[in-house]
Symmetry: C2
Subunit: 349 residues, 2 copies
């Protein structure tokens, strides 16, 4: 077991048990534990809570670095900000830390809806929160944000979905499939029964290369943004930055998240009718794709925005593409903050 999924690397976070979680696809997690990082203080009225779910491969640590800070839109001196690591993230209950019948490749299939029900239980039962000033998330965090707004429309006053969709596209499904197969095709993956992540280094590096191709944008590389980030060559960027990022992660964790990502779909609540599902949303909603995102492109997000009653299309401009989520583009972060400030200042149900 590496030191990657630890308080030292990703903390501080608190492990909070929410009991047994029945899963939409069958089975259950008997003792589901969520890794939760909070910032700020819940006020007496309990109306200053903001929920931040996490994206694929991300943890509460990078959410803090990218979104949260004094003077930022998500200001811990004003709000009580709750970052909940998704199931499978490696911090909350995950293939890498589950034991016995749930360990490793035996981990059950978990859906976005399972995460959101777990988070709902956490907020209502552990924190006593009945309404959220805002749910904001990027990528798989956006999937969870949409699921929140559709599943619990009276609880979510505002929603900000960044670089993600309410119903995953066929194209995006296939991209995630290539990520999964980069790992599963490595003989050392052994159907999930590898001993250490390092055994699957070749598969993880292939996944890092796929992220290199699709995660940024062609304009990013033409503008030599990878050089600006400190790497002399594409090879150094892939080997050190991209592979360095994915190499310590647990392959079963990544695949559990990717499986979930592929199937994000709020229209499961309405028999496949996306317009009906998005029509349920009461939250004041900002839809915020990133201009150069190659797999959650603005047009896909705008098509959904047009189905959400009280919504605005607020795209973010960045040639860093999807991985501008990493916080690599200060101008994009400034746009993000401006939009979130506007949203937090806007009237909401």
């Amino acid at each position: 077991m590496s030191g990657y999924y630890t308080q030292e690397a990703h903390g501080p976070f608190e492990m909070i048990g929410i009991g047994a979680l029945e899963l939409e696809d069958g089975g259950s997690i008997p003792d589901c534990r969520l890794a939760v990082a909070t910032h700020g203080t819940l006020n007496a009225a309990k109306d200053n809570a903001i929920l931040v779910p996490t994206w694929y491969s991300g943890t509460s640590k990078i959410m803090e670095q990218v979104y949260i800070g004094r003077g930022r839109a998500l200001d811990p001196t004003k709000y009580f900000i709750i970052v909940v690591n998704q199931i499978g993230s490696g911090l909350s209950t995950s293939p890498s830390n589950a034991e016995g019948a749930l360990a490793g490749a035996r981990f059950p299939q978990v859906r976005i809806g399972d995460d959101v029900r777990a988070q709902h239980r956490l907020l209502t039962q552990h924190f006593g929160i009945e309404r959220l000033a805002l749910v904001v998330g990027g990528s798989m965090g956006a999937q969870q944000t949409y699921e929140w707004a559709v599943r619990y429309p009276d609880m979510v006053r505002r929603a900000a979905a960044i670089a993600g969709t309410a119903r995953n596209t066929e194209h995006d499904f296939m991209y995630a499939q290539t990520l999964i197969e980069a790992i599963t095709s490595d003989p050392a993956f052994a159907g999930g029964a590898y001993k250490n992540s390092a055994d699957v280094a070749a598969g993880l590096k292939r996944q890092a290369k796929l992220w290199t191709v699709m995660g940024w944008s062609t304009e990013f590389f033409r503008a030599k943004r990878h050089h600006a980030l400190g790497f002399d060559s594409m090879e150094a960027f892939v080997d050190n930055f991209m592979t360095g990022y994915f190499a310590p992660m647990d392959p079963n964790n990544l695949n559990a998240m990717a499986w979930k990502w592929q199937r994000g779909d709020v229209s499961r609540h309405t028999g496949g009718d996306l317009a009906a599902a998005l029509g349920r949303i009461k939250a004041r909603t900002f839809v915020m794709p990133i201009s150069h995102d190659m797999f959650f492109p603005p047009a896909d997000c705008q098509a959904e925005q047009q189905l959400i009653p009280n919504s605005e299309f607020r795209p973010l401009a960045s040639i860093d593409g999807h991985l501008a989520l990493f916080g690599t583009d200060a101008q994009m972060l400034a746009q993000l903050d401006a939009h979130l400030l506007a949203l937090l200042g806007a009237a909401a149900p």
Copy 2:
């Protein structure tokens, strides 16, 4: 040996020997043979010749289907159109048909410049052609078109580079690398020593999925163009259309072409100075990216066009993206023909 690389599947073509070809990266092909398909008749002045080089995985057959026909811009009643299958294509000298020291994984590294010198010898020595009315190619065909215009500026009167670049980008290199590794990571590839393409079916299918993600566009799938092409689901599209296309191909052939594609770079003639290389071009040149191309995007092509003296930027609009080259979008083909007619009608040196 499958029946894929045959006259029945890809003919008619003629095998023409051009002698020993010394290679830029060392070694040689002792008896280099080019598979050549011609359409129309060379006139007495020998000034109606059009050269069409081929793209990755493509052969002269699809070039004919996509570009050539009575009433089309490339009209065989007016022009003598010569389609030359690239080295490594499976029809010209390739890993799959070479013998002895060149067979299979032992095939030497061949560059775009090697192909263009081989084609030059074919045109001048076999056909007695000294000037080309037009060189036109898509993708790797565009790479060869640029190489022709830079290497033999006095021989190329007009050039049309479709969906390709003169110097490959780092992003595109990495995309091609993922294609190569989809194959080489398959244990059955065995370092290129597999017995049959079918042995490497898993790797070829993974490559087909990468092409599914990057070859079309997000808009293509949003508009359900894959349904319009006759497939009920993404799964059917991937299994039947995309995998069906790649499955019979030879993995070593594909990798030889991908290696060549990665290194396309006319600035090899000028010590890495791209502006100097493109400044050599005398041809009247149309630069024709496809609007939704995810790896030869318009901006990359336009940046090169601005370095070519007698050139115009003539983008093609199609949500089919790069693989609009397959001829799936009739409106794109109409645009292509209009541009090529304009180019063929334009004054040229």
